[in-house]
Symmetry: D2
Subunit: 404 residues, 4 copies
Amino acid sequence: MNAQADRLPLNTIDPLACRFAQVRAHSLELAAPLSEEDCCAQSMPDASPIKWHLAHTTWFFETFLLERRERNFKPFHSAFRVLFNSYYNGVGDKHARPKRGLLTRPALKEVIAYRRNVDARMQALLASHAGTDAYAELAQLVELGLQHEQQHQELMLTDVLHLFSCNPLFPAYANGKPAAHAPVEPLQWLKFDAGIVEIGHEGDGFCFDNELPCHRQFVERFQLGLRLVTNGEYLAFIEAGGYRDPAMWLSEGWDWVNREGLACPIYWQKDEGGWKTFGLHGLQTLDPHAPAVHISYFEADAYARWAGARLPTEAEWEHAARSSKGLKQLFGVCWQWTSSSYAAYPGFKTADGALGEYNGKFMSNQYVLRGSSSATPEGHARISYRNFFPATARWQVMGIRLAK
Amino acid sequence: MNAQADRLPLNTIDPLACRFAQVRAHSLELAAPLSEEDCCAQSMPDASPIKWHLAHTTWFFETFLLERRERNFKPFHSAFRVLFNSYYNGVGDKHARPKRGLLTRPALKEVIAYRRNVDARMQALLASHAGTDAYAELAQLVELGLQHEQQHQELMLTDVLHLFSCNPLFPAYANGKPAAHAPVEPLQWLKFDAGIVEIGHEGDGFCFDNELPCHRQFVERFQLGLRLVTNGEYLAFIEAGGYRDPAMWLSEGWDWVNREGLACPIYWQKDEGGWKTFGLHGLQTLDPHAPAVHISYFEADAYARWAGARLPTEAEWEHAARSSKGLKQLFGVCWQWTSSSYAAYPGFKTADGALGEYNGKFMSNQYVLRGSSSATPEGHARISYRNFFPATARWQVMGIRLAK
Amino acid sequence: MNAQADRLPLNTIDPLACRFAQVRAHSLELAAPLSEEDCCAQSMPDASPIKWHLAHTTWFFETFLLERRERNFKPFHSAFRVLFNSYYNGVGDKHARPKRGLLTRPALKEVIAYRRNVDARMQALLASHAGTDAYAELAQLVELGLQHEQQHQELMLTDVLHLFSCNPLFPAYANGKPAAHAPVEPLQWLKFDAGIVEIGHEGDGFCFDNELPCHRQFVERFQLGLRLVTNGEYLAFIEAGGYRDPAMWLSEGWDWVNREGLACPIYWQKDEGGWKTFGLHGLQTLDPHAPAVHISYFEADAYARWAGARLPTEAEWEHAARSSKGLKQLFGVCWQWTSSSYAAYPGFKTADGALGEYNGKFMSNQYVLRGSSSATPEGHARISYRNFFPATARWQVMGIRLAK
Amino acid sequence: MNAQADRLPLNTIDPLACRFAQVRAHSLELAAPLSEEDCCAQSMPDASPIKWHLAHTTWFFETFLLERRERNFKPFHSAFRVLFNSYYNGVGDKHARPKRGLLTRPALKEVIAYRRNVDARMQALLASHAGTDAYAELAQLVELGLQHEQQHQELMLTDVLHLFSCNPLFPAYANGKPAAHAPVEPLQWLKFDAGIVEIGHEGDGFCFDNELPCHRQFVERFQLGLRLVTNGEYLAFIEAGGYRDPAMWLSEGWDWVNREGLACPIYWQKDEGGWKTFGLHGLQTLDPHAPAVHISYFEADAYARWAGARLPTEAEWEHAARSSKGLKQLFGVCWQWTSSSYAAYPGFKTADGALGEYNGKFMSNQYVLRGSSSATPEGHARISYRNFFPATARWQVMGIRLAK
């Protein structure tokens, strides 16, 4: 795929239209190194095909913006409303999630045509609203659609990594080698006093509904690790028998380790040449100084227990991140597990209609991660951002910051 | 079974020895209406046979008290250490939980002999420590064992109820009819101000490790329902199509409802004569004024959403319970779901050794319930008590108190 | 249980009434060594509780004889029609098979009362028909009911053995030790010529519908092992790596061995003292000269392949058994797997109504076994008898006779 | 894909080399209407991606011919030996069957290059053996490889049909409409006498090992339907409640119907416009005169019972097919279920080595189908040909010929 060819002409000076074009183009840039076959396969129910991500993010704009605001709306394809609905019951039927990889039709080319069609209609919609009273509300929805697309951009990378990890050829998504990490210092702890802290998003910038409202929490005094846990430190846990000692694990975690027969993180493997990790650059010798990533909550919690520490709560993480104490690796390296179950903030409200399903209905049996990762698109992260996954999820770029 | 015959002679004035004899005798009293067959069967992996409860609570004293403190300790039966271990990895192997119902041997009579044997040895142990420096520590462990046994006394009732619910004959555990409830008033709301509150157990009395330490939390202002939700109110939710509307449910809850084909609570059924509920008194016409019980977290959460309210956090519940605002039905009716995921309090510490597995290792993917139920033994409840179950659990006596 | 007390007074000289009383009494005799708890538990969906066997065999007489022939028929208990229906769709609903072990009610005592009640009514029915035209048809159905009960008598023993094998205490059903087997001679082969043979039941005696009609088959020349394969011979297969070599196994069998992690027959175990086998006499040192039993079809087939032989077809077995060539261990030791899939004989007809479900509907994906076993009641075996089980079934007394 | 371009130059007059080129080219012709995405997806574990079929059939020649006979053998790609091994334990490891659809690499283009490479080496091998003593054995193996490829050609069509049936867009593999069938006459029966018949392959032509040895069977007199059962006849079974009446079904079949919630054959659906069937030409109005296809054994057996008939044995089918009685639709329409479990003929021998796994190890819990189907390549069928599938398989072109 020639991603360049997919850039839209930017014949507008509306910054949002500009941003729209840039974010949309980035999705195609991410797919550029992949073949049509790569873009169609689905390696597990939790992951989606690249083609599906490209179509679903387009569906979002067509369904939540064009359908209600475009004059004489006519869908690009009548079947797409169902095919590319992810989880919005309010929109109607959905294609079964585990069967997304069977959609060899529409072809990738048709999905790209769908993107171009919707992009053009969206630009026209924006232009037609310029200067009107309705622009502000429209702009808010467009921004939600772009933030949504950025979330899927991260998933595109993690999903293709999982797909490639299932292939004994271990293909590399990216050329070249990852840069080696310099040796790290022994872990230092930053201290924080007890007190009432403000948690959640404040101000005019974009945020998701689950970051609201800004509210108070009481935090007891605590310490937070200056940096993330490294591969070398995690390897020490493995070599100390961490995966064989039930005393290190939550009960559910121990059951999971045994049921799945786990002895190391998902993308680690050991051969006669030593430990290797699999990533977007393919199989690489384990870098002991790099932060440990693709770690589940259960593994993070077990490591923390073994290390005589614990995971931070999300209030601790957010409070510390707002301080000016020089915490390293908060953003752009890996999402950091907190011990906080994903729940509504006091006073949380969902939007009306199907968009109310965006976040709120997932508030059970998941844990919050904070920060952002190497796969997160530029400009998508925030201190108040709440990512969330089940305790066994490992295919995201997830790591460990210790607290005590 | 003649429960009377199993009372130990109380030839001691040590109040703890007395209490020991009483709590232990109560377990047998609970089994008195049951046959040997009733006591042996296991209706699902989450439930255990009555005989197993009787043996396991005895195993607890033999393993955690007699084994380390009795001179010339010799186990009653060498195989019981494995057979009646519930989940303590620190003690060694365990009989597979879903296969407890296959242990037709040892016979119920042998388990009762096991109880008598351990009871006598425990009384001797207590007597031998009277007045010594070691007594206080011993007493603490004995109390833990008795509290543990009381937890199992509650499970005996809920487990036998589930067993009987699987039998098309719908046997009654207890004779007679449950008392009818008087009509309730429309729900009133009690208001609470925002502020820092103290949560957790304080003082000398017994508590479990998960209730410690007492600590501060900030609570925003909230309102709490004066009483529990009734069967009649819950029926309105059903009749309004609550089990068919995804907008009412958490996403996981909606999947669960559809996977299991649910249309009402576990022990409800409808025939030409109207709605009936199954309980320890057998099948009864649904009492619209009785509190709705055997409700899962997912159902409680869906009901609350439908009712325009929410579930309280455990801090809200505990703070309100400590006030003197006349809240009804806090204890002795049903455990009340909170929206709080079961997690460690700040500064939580587990005991050394296998007893450290008592509570801490279960702190994932469960929700806290507060109060106590009609099945909770007299004197077992506390304001700071934290019960916890997964979001789909329904076989306990669980209900709904609303917040907003 | 006092089995003696359950014998009916034999105040009739009708030989069938006599036989009825004897067969019925034998079921209770088999249950005599067992407790109420033993009789209630169900160790797997394929096995049934002893109490259920006792009730279901009674249900057979009540449903298929009394219901249609007794004046003013009134069921002993209205719920039993559903509770103790095994698989007869023509009779109506059935209690779910895997939940038979949850029927702690009716109590064993009530089931015995049910047996006595039906026994008396059956005797009265027989007496009332004595000398009438309808007697012959009645007698035929009574005989079917008795043969049916004998089949369940065998299952009672194999089901209780499986239940006890799930108990780490390994209880013995029978006292004493099994008699040691004398050393066997090397396997000799009996030769049979090719030709048309008659297969199936002929004559006036009882047989099941699946043994009919007697028909012709062409059998190529073959040889049959004079005796059964012994434990010692089977052990040589194990020690030669039989359970680790896919070349020995059918593809499905190999998948099964790996999925279940099998390394020996179901009731074999090895400890520091060597190989032991579990049986009705409890755990015993493996007797190398005893016939290998509790062997699945997949294991029998793999052993035969390893031994350079094969399993016989059922036509070969039956033809050989009709010869006078001195074949040993045809009856009373173990059922002998044949390579014949369980299918209808040419011209096979099922009975009208629900009794037509007795055999015919199971004619898929099962293999025929011939002979009879140590658990088969006296007088129940026939040369034309066709037993059948799926290829993975192991809990019956099944073994191997080789052919080539 | 331009299939034409993949035809090899036929610069040889060795008829086998010619046939080799033709059969190999046909596989690519079958893939020609498909995109790279279509060729990569796998819709269920039983089906394989088209790309995998193209690679595996090539692997067969490389592994079983080139590896042992080519001088200085070097595999095209070292990983392909594992990636494209189907089920030959004797060859070593295999890529997990249900994960074949995740192999987006090697790309389809690389697989086609693999085919060309192996084709050229095979032609060279054949040429180098021309006129030598070793030619005959080589030719036999080449023929086996071609017959093997033809089997996969049939699977390519049935697997892509299943894949497309999972897509709500219901894509058509082939353009145009299937020809309408003329109305059929009421079913006529052809009569056959009892007697000894010869079954199995005889002569010099190619056959699979499972068709040998030719041997005698005794067949009772029987009648066979002159033609296949039609859609219209099968529809009458549906409309008579066939899928709701347990009396029509084998016990396992009835469980399957209920577990899967079946009410019609796999590719049938009913909408307001009436019944439609899905096939290679896409969704079409049901043609009542066309033979019913994609019918499982359980459905075929149930239909036959409902129609007062039965399925033929394979001996009956083969004997009738050898007669000159004018039986219609024996070949080229659909495979025809027999009631015969797939088993070894008396005297059956497997080849040495991994090729011995070709057929023999699948001889359990499958049923034999006879004839050939519309998807069978020209020239692949034989009267003695034994196809076999489990009783629930439906995605092949399978239908019903009645016997009685």
